[in-house]
Structure formats: structure tokens, C-alpha cells
């Protein structure tokens, strides 16, 4: 599904250049649930941004679902993002004046799905995250966990190839974190490929594979025994 070869990325900080990613090689099969771990400054967010086509690499190859991702302009990147990727952010990033249903329907609007079908699909996904009754509520009326579940529903509504989650539980208490992870595991059970960036050990162990980044290189890549979040959720 994802194939990365010798990926390099550096940022210019005034006259200095900061080398963030120093040759990353990484592959990810269909249906995997991968945790990308590392301390801050290890380059994990940069890697996710490049995978999410929110940022471009300096050199290296990136192939997503057999499509080589290169020479991206904004328009093309937007197209790919809409077609291939779903995002879940630490800070939820819901549009505050749109209610839950409208937020979930938004990626479908950019897929040019008709209004009625959009509403139906969005409601369907809201139901799957258990928030059907909250469809007409604004984000400000939802709890953190509910917001993140709306964000996950939104990411899933576009039916992406890969779901990218950047610290999805970073702003949540542990109970809600497990609820969110439970949801992510269930989505993964249905065969969706998911990448989770985190620095929390327990969250990482709820994935099927952990990739450790340090100073811009992968230092460890191992498959693990998945801890089901269900057991923590009543």
C-alpha cells in the first residue's frame, strides 16, 4: 500500500539547514495498523506530513497504492488527499460553525457527491462511531472524545485508502483515549490501513506494528501482539 525509499527532508532555519529525515525506508501492507513512535523532534510528524502530502520530500520515492507521488502541486495534492487519504488530528480540526453531520459530509462535498447522498453517507458514518443522536450538534457542544470520533467519521466518510492519525489521543484523557483506540481498531478490523503517530507506549501497543524513529532514521521496526482497547472500555 505504502512504499517509501530513501526519503530525505530538511528545513531551512535562517542560514542553517535542519536535516529532519535522513533516509527513511518503509513499507506498509494493506490492512496494517502501524504506530510511528518517537520523541519530539524525531521527525515523526514530518514523516506523516509527507505521507499525507501536506509537505513535499526533498528526495526519495513515495508510492501510494501503486501511484508514484511526485511533482505535486497544490491542486494535484488536494486531489490525491481527497481520493487516498483521511486525516485525524490531535486538535480534531472540526469546522466550528458546522454541526457534526456537516463536518462529516465535507470531504464528500469535495468529492462532488450530491447533497442528499452526502447526508445519508455522513449519517451512516456518524452512526458507526456511535454519534447519530449528536448529528445536529456543533463541535462546541461535544466532548473531546466525541469530537475525535466525529473527526474519525469524517476521515472515514471519504473512504480513503489510508487513514493518517496524528496523535489522535494527545488531547484526551486515558479513558477516552481507549475509546478512540477501540474505534480505530474496529475500523482496522474491517481491513482499512491506518498509521498512528503517537509517543504514548500504551497507545502504540494497541497497534499491530511499531516503528521507532530517532533523529530522522528508523531505529526499530517490529510487529507486536496487539492489545485490544476493548478490555479497557466498559
Amino acid at each position: 500500500m505504502i512504499e517509501i525509499k530513501d526519503l530525505h527532508k530538511s528545513y531551512k532555519m535562517g542560514s542553517n539547514s535542519l536535516h529532519v529525515l535522513k533516509g527513511i525506508n518503509f513499507t506498509c501492507e494493506d490492512g496494517e495498523l502501524v504506530a510511528i513512535m518517537g520523541s519530539s523532534g524525531s521527525g515523526k510528524s514530518t514523516l506523516l506530513n509527507i505521507l499525507g502530502m501536506l509537505d513535499g520530500a526533498d528526495s526519495g520515492e513515495y508510492i501510494l497504492d501503486g501511484v508514484p507521488i511526485k511533482d505535486l502541486n497544490e491542486t494535484k495534492a488536494a486531489q490525491y488527499r481527497n481520493k487516498f487519504l483521511g486525516f485525524v488530528f490531535q486538535s480534531f480540526n472540526l469546522i466550528n460553525y458546522k454541526n457534526a453531520l456537516e463536518n462529516v459530509a465535507l470531504p464528500l462535498y469535495y468529492q462532488r457527491v450530491g447533497r442528499k447522498e452526502r447526508q445519508e453517507k455522513a449519517l451512516n458514518y456518524l452512526e458507526r462511531v456511535g454519534l447519530k443522536e449528536w448529528a445536529t450538534h456543533l463541535p462546541s457542544e461535544l466532548s473531546g472524545g466525541q469530537k475525535q470520533r466525529v473527526a474519525i467519521a469524517r476521515a472515514m466518510a471519504a473512504e480513503p485508502k489510508v487513514l493518517l492519525a496524528d496523535e489522535p489521543t494527545g488531547a484526551l484523557d486515558s479513558k477516552t483515549s481507549y475509546e478512540v483506540m477501540d474505534l480505530i481498531q474496529k475500523i482496522n478490523d474491517e481491513g482499512n490501513t491506518i498509521l498512528v503517530v503517537t509517543h504514548e507506549e500504551d497507545i502504540a501497543h494497541m497497534c499491530k506494528r511499531i516503528v521507532h524513529l530517532r533523529d530522522g532514521v528508523i531505529v526499530e521496526d517490529k510487529k507486536i501482539e496487539q492489545v485490544r482497547a476493548e478490555s479497557y472500555v466498559q
Binding site: 499525507g52 501536506l54 509537505d55 481527497n82 486525516f87 465535507l106 462535498y109
Partner: protein
């Protein structure tokens, strides 16, 4: 533009950001409102001045005599010029072709006027039978004297409307009544209505009678001429100036007055004066336009300012939309679409309100030099279009900048 989905998206945004939309709309609407009102008053002033000048026949030319200011051909300055019937006749004969109406005037001075036992203090003037047309005056009762009265030196008089209301309020009609001018009875044959009130306080008698009865000999005080109407204003002005100069030359020659003299012979042309006023109103109109355009510019600046704030406020939203797959152009399109929609709606609202105000209040405005302020609809409409276009251009740059901000940075924006 006709994408129904986008319209729905925009109406959603507008519905959920009412205050922001309202404030944007208000600044645009008030800009248009002020401009239209200003333009309306510019036109009102023009109308008002036009009305002032309609009172006398606008092609009229008046001549009066004075005291010479420069010596000429051995004659000292300070000589008083006196016009005579012969001057008047030779002038009218000479310029016969270009004259429509003509009249001379003789002031009857040091007289007493009585009606019965009542003593009246009104000026008495001897004029020719065409004087009525020169003053552009109408008869409300009876008639003006005619050529026959003039030839027979009839003792008839025409009074102004004000005299009729002041003195003859107790009789059905003053026509047929007699007044004594220096003891000589004159029969009133008509009441004259002039556009200027002070000219309604005069008693007119035939100039021949005035000269004969009141020792005028062949002296006259003024000559009046009007020129036939011309095709357009500029031609009329040119004709008036030409006539004025010829007449001035002729009279100066007759009285041996230097061509450089400015006070011996005086000729006044209403047309020339009118042109001066029209130039003034044109300038006033220009000034109002200038103020109006400045208002519009302020409006445009306001719109672009609001656009900047709106875009700034929505940076994060734009980032989210982009992460979800919005293309930069769709972001620009969405922001501009909303801006155009709001400016157009509020612009036309301002237009409708101001036009309604002018329509309702305008005809009732009765101030000197301001009459019926109104505005050309096409002009006002165009202004709204211009504002919308300018607002769009002004809104484009912030929208484009916002759309090209890096998605990550946009998402990080608080």
C-alpha cells in the same frame, strides 16, 4: 458560478456567520447610499439653478447707461450717457434679423400714485408692449397693453399681482378701475404675474404715454432684447455674446464712448450669466462625484479590509478544507463567491433605499437652489457594479494568499 452545491455551501456559511455578513453588507450599503444621496443633491442643485434662470427669458439682453470712465476723442471721462428713442430705434433696426422681442423702458420718477383716497408707493415704469415676453411674465387678469395703446398714448396701466392682492383685495377685479398717477387717471387693463416677487410690485404704462405725460421727451433708461431660441445651449451662448458685443459697439459709437470704457454703456446677457452658473453647477457636480468616488474607494477599502479579516479568521478552516481535499481554486472561488454575493445584495439594498428616499423626499425639498434631487438610475446601477468588481479584485488577493498558505501552517493557526 451556477454550481448549486457551492451556493448551498455559501448560504450555510452566511447563515452561520450572520454578524460578519451583516457588517460587511452594512459598510457596502452605506457607501452606495451616501454616493447616491450626494449625486442626487448634485443634480438637485443643478435643477435648482436651472429653475432660477427660467424666470426671465434666458436669451434676454439688458442695456443701461452709466458714466464714462475713460476719455475718448477729446471728451473727458465722467460724462453721463443718456439713451434716447433714436438709439433704441437704430439698434433695433440694425439688428432686426437677430431680435425676437424688444422693449425700451423709462422710469417715471417723483410721482404720486393714488387709488381713491389711498396713496400707493409703487414704482411706475413706461415700457413697450413686448415687455411682457421679455420678462417671461403671464397675465392673470385682463391684458397687457398693445401697439395701438402705445401709438395712441393711451392712459392705461398694468399692475403686478402683489399690488392686486395688497390694494384691490376688496374688488372682484381691478380691471376697469382707475388709479391716479400724479393726478392723471389711468385705467387698469390687466394684472401681471411675474416669477420674481419684487417685479410684481410695479405699475407698467405704455412708454409713449410715460414720455409724453411725464416730461420724458425722447429719453429712455433701458433697452431690452431677446434673441430667438437656438438649437442648443452653446449656440445660444455664442449668439448672445456676439449680439452683446455688436450692440455694445454700436451704442459706444453713437455716444462717442471709448471701446475700452467699461461703465458708459452696459450690456448684460442672461445667457452669459447662465453659462457661468452652469459651469459652477458642473463644478459642484464634479465635486460631488469626487466625494462620491472617494466614498466608494473607502467602501472598497472597507470591503477588502473585511475580506482580509474574514480570510484571517478562516485560515484554520481553509487548512481543514484543504486537508480534506479542497483545491486552492475552490477555496478562492468560495471566498470570492461569498464576497460578491454579499456585496451585490447589500449594494443593491443601499441603492434601493437611497433611490426610494430620493423619490419620496426629493420632490418635497424646497430650498433655494436645490430642486427635486434625483439620480440617474443607470449611473447608480453602474456604481454598484463597479463597487462589486472592485470589491472582488480587492478580495481576490487575500483569498489567494489564504489559499496558498501551506496547509500545515494553516492548520496550526489559532
Amino acid at each position: 458560478m451556477f454550481d448549486i452545491e457551492r451556493w448551498q455551501e455559501i448560504f450555510d456559511t452566511i447563515r452561520k456567520n450572520k454578524l460578519r455578513t451583516f457588517l460587511t453588507g452594512l459598510s457596502v450599503a452605506s457607501g452606495i447610499f451616501i454616493l447616491v444621496i450626494l449625486l442626487g443633491f448634485g443634480q438637485g442643485m443643478r435643477n435648482g439653478i436651472q429653475k432660477e434662470f427660467e424666470q426671465d427669458a434666458t436669451t434676454s439682453i439688458e442695456v443701461w447707461a452709466g458714466v464714462t470712465s475713460v476719455g475718448y476723442k477729446g471728451l473727458n471721462p465722467g460724462r453721463r450717457i443718456q439713451f434716447t428713442n433714436e438709439n433704441y430705434e437704430s439698434s433695433s433696426a440694425l439688428f432686426n434679423n437677430s431680435i425676437e422681442f424688444e422693449s425700451s423702458r423709462f422710469f417715471v420718477r417723483n410721482t404720486t400714485v393714488n387709488y381713491g383716497k389711498e396713496s400707493l408707493v409703487y414704482s411706475v415704469q413706461g415700457v413697450s408692449n413686448h415687455y411682457q415676453f421679455i420678462e417671461n411674465a403671464g397675465m392673470i387678469e385682463g391684458r397687457f397693453f398693445n401697439l395701438k395703446d402705445e401709438k395712441e398714448t393711451a392712459k392705461v396701466a398694468v399692475i403686478g399681482k402683489k399690488i392686486r392682492t395688497d390694494v384691490f383685495k376688496d374688488v372682484d377685479t381691478p380691471v376697469g378701475e382707475y388709479i391716479q398717477i400724479s393726478g392723471i387717471p389711468f385705467k387698469i387693463i390687466g394684472v401681471l404675474k411675474d416669477n420674481q416677487e419684487r417685479e410684481e410690485e410695479r405699475i407698467y404704462i405704455p412708454i409713449t404715454t410715460a414720455q409724453k405725460v411725464f416730461n420724458g421727451n425722447n429719453k429712455i433708461n433701458n433697452m431690452f432684447f431677446t434673441l430667438p431660441p437656438s438649437e442648443n445651449f452653446d449656440e445660444a451662448v455664442a449668439q448672445s455674446i456676439n449680439f452683446k458685443n455688436n450692440l455694445l459697439g454700436h451704442l459706444q459709437q453713437l455716444h462717442t464712448v471709448s471701446p475700452d470704457d467699461t461703465s458708459g454703456v452696459n450690456v448684460w446677457s442672461a445667457m452669459e450669466e447662465a453659462k457661468r452658473y452652469y459651469t459652477l453647477t458642473d463644478n459642484i457636480k464634479l465635486f460631488f462625484w469626487f466625494v462620491g468616488v472617494c466614498t466608494i474607494i473607502a467602501g472598497v477599502v472597507g470591503v477588502s479590509n473585511i475580506m482580509l479579516i474574514v480570510v484571517k479568521e478562516r485560515t484554520r478552516e481553509i487548512g481543514i478544507r484543504k486537508a480534506l481535499g479542497a483545491k486552492p481554486w475552490s477555496i478562492v472561488g468560495m471566498i470570492l463567491h461569498e464576497a460578491i454575493f454579499v456585496t451585490a445584495i447589500s449594494g443593491f439594498t443601499g441603492l434601493i433605499f437611497s433611490m426610494a428616499l430620493l423619490e419620496i423626499v426629493g420632490p418635497h425639498i424646497e430650498i433655494d437652489y436645490v430642486t427635486n434631487p434625483s439620480v440617474n438610475f443607470t449611473v447608480a446601477f453602474t456604481t454598484v457594479i463597479v463597487l462589486v468588481i472592485a470589491g472582488t479584485i480587492a478580495g481576490f488577493f487575500p483569498a489567494w494568499r489564504a489559499a496558498s498558505v501551506h496547509t500545515i501552517e494553516a492548520l496550526r493557526d489559532e
